[in-house]
Amino acid sequence: MTWEQVLELIKSILITQTGVPNLAIKEVVMIGIAFFFLYLAVAKEYEPLLLVPIGFGIFLVNFPLAPLMGYSEHGYPELIRAFYKYGVEWEIIPPMIFLGLGAMTDFGPLIANPKTLIVGAGAQLGVFVTYLGTLFFGFTLKEAASVAIIGGADGPTTIYLTAKLAPQLLGANALAAYSYMAMVPLIQPPIMRLMTTVEQRRIKMRQLRPVSPREKLLFPLVATFLIVLLIPAVAPLMGMFMFGNFMRECGVVKRLSDTAQNAMMNIITILLGLSVGATMKADVFLSYKPLLVFTLGLFDFVICTFGGILTVHVMNRFLKTKMNPLIGSAGVSAVPMAARVSQVEGLRADSDNWLIMHAMGPNLAGVIGSAAAAGMFIAMFN
């Protein structure tokens, strides 16, 4: 073998078998973005359970020639592509996340005060306003719907709807949804203070009535019956959510409930996070649309918070026992962070005003409301 042949071989290996000569600026930018989200997750603890796998997924997938999101020569999906294909594309993981969430959720505060369901509906205002606004920026109807649902502040719902309607925006939408969910304590308080007077923030709400275990057991059955009957398209999400909750409340399948809440939830969170992060390849992500998604998503959150508080103000006009408008902001889902923000703002106005349990009602109603909004959008395109 001559020196020329050796050099030729080395050159060939460098070009075809290593990533170094194939690394472009846009990929370096994406790796930088991955580091940014990993920093937010690790140093700032912003939604670390999701942002760590998503950030690492972005980091991994932007290495040139890495066999992760493509298909093999024989047509088999590569590692993360397989997670994505069978988990997200087949719409399995988001409903499974809902199953786990259902098993974790105590609907007691919502059952004790069903009026807060209306607050959950009002907080979807941003979803529909953003849907319209997004259309002005050249998004298609399906893309607009998938961007609009970010304001619902419900990660699995956003992923489910986006994977169904606009998979090209999956990474941006999921990242925007989880980032803003983590930033709820930053986004909501100024709007809450702007929309309420000090007197309104001091309103003390009557203690919630105790809810019997039988009532809690019956709730998932009644809710599933009514919601799925009215919006069949939401059955995969709502059905799994209520199934998880039924397992929790029936008390005879503690092992299953425990698995749904812990082991299963953790496994699918890893798979979901990696899959979503891996959709953010430089070619797809570095365009104007994902940037707009982040801007519109923030606008969406703001309008949803506004809608929730506005709904409480409107309801207070008709109610004998007034509700504290601060609980309206919890209608954006983001369980339980949004309810905690209501609590903190309530305590700021009056150190003896404990709103957390009252805010959990609209918070849980927000989960149902955003899933219903997603169902409405799916039905619209069918």
Binding site: L117, L132, K142, E215, L226, Y288, L291, L298
Partner: protein, 321 residues
Amino acid sequence: MYNRIASHTSPKPLILFLTICFAMVIMYSSAAEATQDITPEETPQPTFTRDGENIVASLIPRAKSTSVLIAFSVSEGRLAEVKGMDFKAAARPEVDGKDFKSELFVVSVADVPKGAETRIDVSSDFFSKSTEFWGFNANQVPSWTNMNADNRSQADRIRTLGIVVRDGGPLDTDGAADGRITLIGGPKDSFWGYALGTLFIRFFGIFLVLSVLMIGMMLSGRIFKRVEDQKKRNAQPLPAKSSRPDDDFQTQRLQDVQSPADRSSVQETAAAVAAALHLHVSALQTDVPLRLRISERNPWTQQGRDRSMSVRYITSRRKQV
């Protein structure tokens, strides 16, 4: 935790982020303008099949996830061919491509008497009452014309758009009265009308769904509350009668219970009741009867008293039966 949340509530970073985002949006708004047309992913790809005299197009329209069928038929002549056409070729400022959700069709009719009219019927359950049919002829000014289609309702939610075209007329694109008619056009719905209409309907739909759930929960809540109240009333001790406790109470209770666990709990209860009665009777036998002071009437003593009185009441009732 609350302190941590409170420490995050400085609005400065948020305002900075918002400013950057909006600045970038303004920068990119020209790019957005450029892409307001139809995206390639959403372009319908119709496939055509002949069904006797008719031709049926199957396609996934823009802004839909499921396919629809559009059937073409003619009243005069023979329907020779129907094919799809990319909207870009017919794009003009007077129309918005997004209004044509199922793209454009080129309909060819043969064997028409020269210069005669034929009626082209386009039927689908995808059409609504407001769907129009617009025709395109590049040789005309303006190129696009509303063909004032007759929008008729049929069975199974199907609507038919009937268009009358004259051989050699303004909408016959070959322009000659040669027995052949070629029509370019497509069903048109207002994109913004649809977007706004569906927006309001669906937003209030969510209120409706959650209101129904709220009413269901309120009703079930009332039923449960009533049942619970009834249970509480039943559980409250009734005034004890003056009859003596049954002597063979323990034996009878032990016969009633089946499981050993229940049996042992009954035995414990019986022992507690016996002890309570003993203390009660002993207290009565003293010169100065012992009385519970208010401070001693805590829930534990109250429960003991209630239980002992209930047992006496049950025993006396059993004897009466």
